[in-house]
């Protein structure tokens, strides 16, 4: 123990005595540490999002859409896939009452919204009261659409009030200016209390029966399935068809929550059966009229992609560690040759081979430790305050991540110091003393 303490003391004086050399050698280790923490936090962020997604919506979700990508050998063969219409959804609801949610959705873009003499562009989404069963959380003022509105094709609507964006950097700001064609609509809803007012959409009057306010970004459960669909105006799906906002052959998208993970597979089988009877749905080949997106598969796919990306980053981190280790080996070897005479002196006054090995290994491990601690500190600063400042999501850095990173840094330094230390310990005292 005393030998170790003495080696640490000598190590400090060596590192302090050769600052530039020491900084260069632990810098590469520090880089490895930064990359490692970033990659680890990315992996855990993915798992965290999955857990939140599961907690909010469960896994028993499906999305049924028309397959518009069918391929045909010639134009004569072309028959468009049948559209899913509101009657089909009603039919499905009757056939499968056990499903928790069957939420049809149809969307139109670039609708002209008029209020108070001002005109602006917005986007209209046709939904039913089941839309509210989705996992997306808003604060509601007024009321949401009910079945009376849907059945009677009433011209009522619910407006979406956007929450303030999180701080974003210049690049995203300019992109948003370029693509956000409904910015005026957002400002209008934000600055005017439109609840109960009459507005005009594409020439038709609508009564605003509710305002849905988005949760602030900080309070939203993050999801990996793109929950941030940009809804602007919600109206009964039947109203949009009746007043010609959507083409008669425009298909609905249907979001389904089977409500139970255990009966999920059975629900899919029954849904396919329903589609087969209704539309002649074929399950195999390119002939499928509809696409059933399974949320579980989608989540698995996203996680797989995310883990692959993280593994690449971790590999880079490991490479940086190895590069750092080689750097430490190089510096330690150079130190051994520069201090050959000192090794001779220490051996002459009684140091054993073990003492010399310990000395060089301790010095290298100290460099690894400093590099690891420095890298972890930079990794934390980059992952939390800096990322937040530049408008990115903060990394999910757990307390054990820097510890693991420092441990790997120390172990790397230890492993790469063994050879130089062995070379140092193998020097013959008389030969070492003769060194200049």
């Amino acid at each position: 123990m005393r030998a170790l303490l003495n080696a640490v003391k000598t190590g400090f004086s060596e590192i302090w005595g050769h600052k530039t050399r020491s900084v260069l050698s632990f810098l590469a280790i520090a880089v490895g540490s930064v990359v490692f923490i970033d990659a680890f936090s990315a992996i855990f962020a993915t798992y965290n999002r999955l857990q939140q997604q599961k907690a909010v919506s469960g896994m028993a979700r499906l999305k049924l859409t028309q397959n518009s990508g069918l391929a045909y050998a010639s134009t004569e063969d072309y028959t468009p896939p049948p559209p899913i219409q509101y009657e089909d959804v009603v039919n499905l609801r009757e056939k499968m009452p056990e499903l928790y949610m069957i939420s049809p959705e149809v969307r139109t873009w670039h609708n002209v919204f008029e209020y108070g003499g001002r005109r602006m562009v917005t986007s209209l989404t046709g939904v039913t009261p089941e839309w509210i069963k989705r996992d997306y959380i808003y604060m509601l003022r007024g009321r949401f659409l009910d079945w009376h509105d849907v059945d009677n094709k009433l011209r009522v609507c619910v407006l979406m009030r956007k929450s303030a964006l999180p701080p974003i950097n210049g690049f995203y700001k300019s992109r948003m200016r370029q693509w956000n064609y409904t910015a005026n609509f957002d400002t209008m809803v934000d600055h005017n209390d439109l609840l109960g007012k009459t507005v005009i959409i594409d020439g038709f009057t609508f009564t605003v029966i509710g305002i849905l306010e988005e949760l602030p970004y900080s309070k939203r459960p993050s999801t990996i399935l793109g929950s941030n669909q940009d809804y602007k105006v919600l109206a009964p799906v039947t109203t949009l068809s009746h007043y010609g906002f959507v083409r008669p052959n425009q298909s609905l998208e249907v979001n389904i929550d089977t409500g139970n993970e255990r009966t999920f597979e059975e629900s899919i089988r029954r849904l396919k059966n329903f589609l087969k009877i209704r539309f002649g749905y074929e399950e195999s080949g390119d002939e499928e009229y509809f696409i059933i997106e399974n949320q579980l598969d989608l989540i698995k796919e996203r996680i797989g992609d995310s883990i692959k990306a993280s593994l690449v980053t971790i590999s880079l981190g490991m490479l940086a560690f190895i590069a750092g280790g080689i750097g430490i080996m190089n510096v330690t070897l150079a130190t051994v040759f520069a201090r050959t005479k000192e090794i001779g002196i220490r051996r002459a006054i009684g140091a054993s081979r073990g003492d010399i090995m310990l000395q060089f290994i301790v010095e290298a491990v100290m460099l690894g430790l400093i590099g690891g601690v420095l890298g972890s500190a930079i990794g934390y600063l980059w992952g939390v305050p800096v990322k937040v400042m530049v408008g990115m999501d903060a990394s999910h850095i757990k307390p054990w991540m820097p510890l693991v990173s420092v441990f790997i840094a120390v172990m790397t330094a230890f492993v790469f110091a063994i050879y130089p230390a062995w070379v140092a310990a193998g020097l013959k005292p008389a030969d070492a003393l003769r060194a200049e």
């Binding site: 051996r347 009684g350 013959k428």
Partner: protein, 221 residues
Amino acid sequence: MTIRCSDLVKTYEGGKAGWPALRGVSFEIKAGEFVAVTGHSGCGKSTLLNIIGLLDDPSGGQYEFNGRDVLSMSDQERSSARLGEIGFVFQAFHLLNRLSSIENVCLPMMYAGADAREMKARAASLLHKVGLKGKERKTPLELSGGERQRVAIARALANSPKIILADEPTGNLDSVSSREIVDMLFGLNAEGITIIMVTHDKEIAARARRNIRLRDGRLEQ
């Protein structure tokens, strides 16, 4: 403490047959002796001292250090012997320049696992003994040649050795410092420590009780 060499041979590698530094040297040194090893440059004096001090291996012959066959000793045993039984004083001092005088003196005691407080007290008393009181915190670079050699002597005495091996300890010193260092070594010999000193200086050799004279790697009695 007895040193017994018989037919000691040391050949350095190089060339076809190598270069012979010692060609069959036999002698015995008993405890408490003051032995001067003399001879021309390149006659094998330092090689002999390195072998006696367990810093180098002989290529042939037999060497018994305090009754133990050196060739059968492990590196650990040799290190322990150097640590506890042998003290070295070199011509070039061989002090660690970034350490203070007291830290240099502490070094052998540190390897021996001494307690930090006792180690410092003993190092200070040894520096006092060699006339360096008040210079404990100075590094070797802040000391004169004579003072550096005194630090080296204090370091050699750190673990109370039975034998001190001095390789031309006055070689880099002026005449006044040389006399002081030699007097100091004779003083230590009077205290019972065996001294083996390599020297070119005939006066110093004449003061020694016994001379071992080397010529071309052989003893010249």
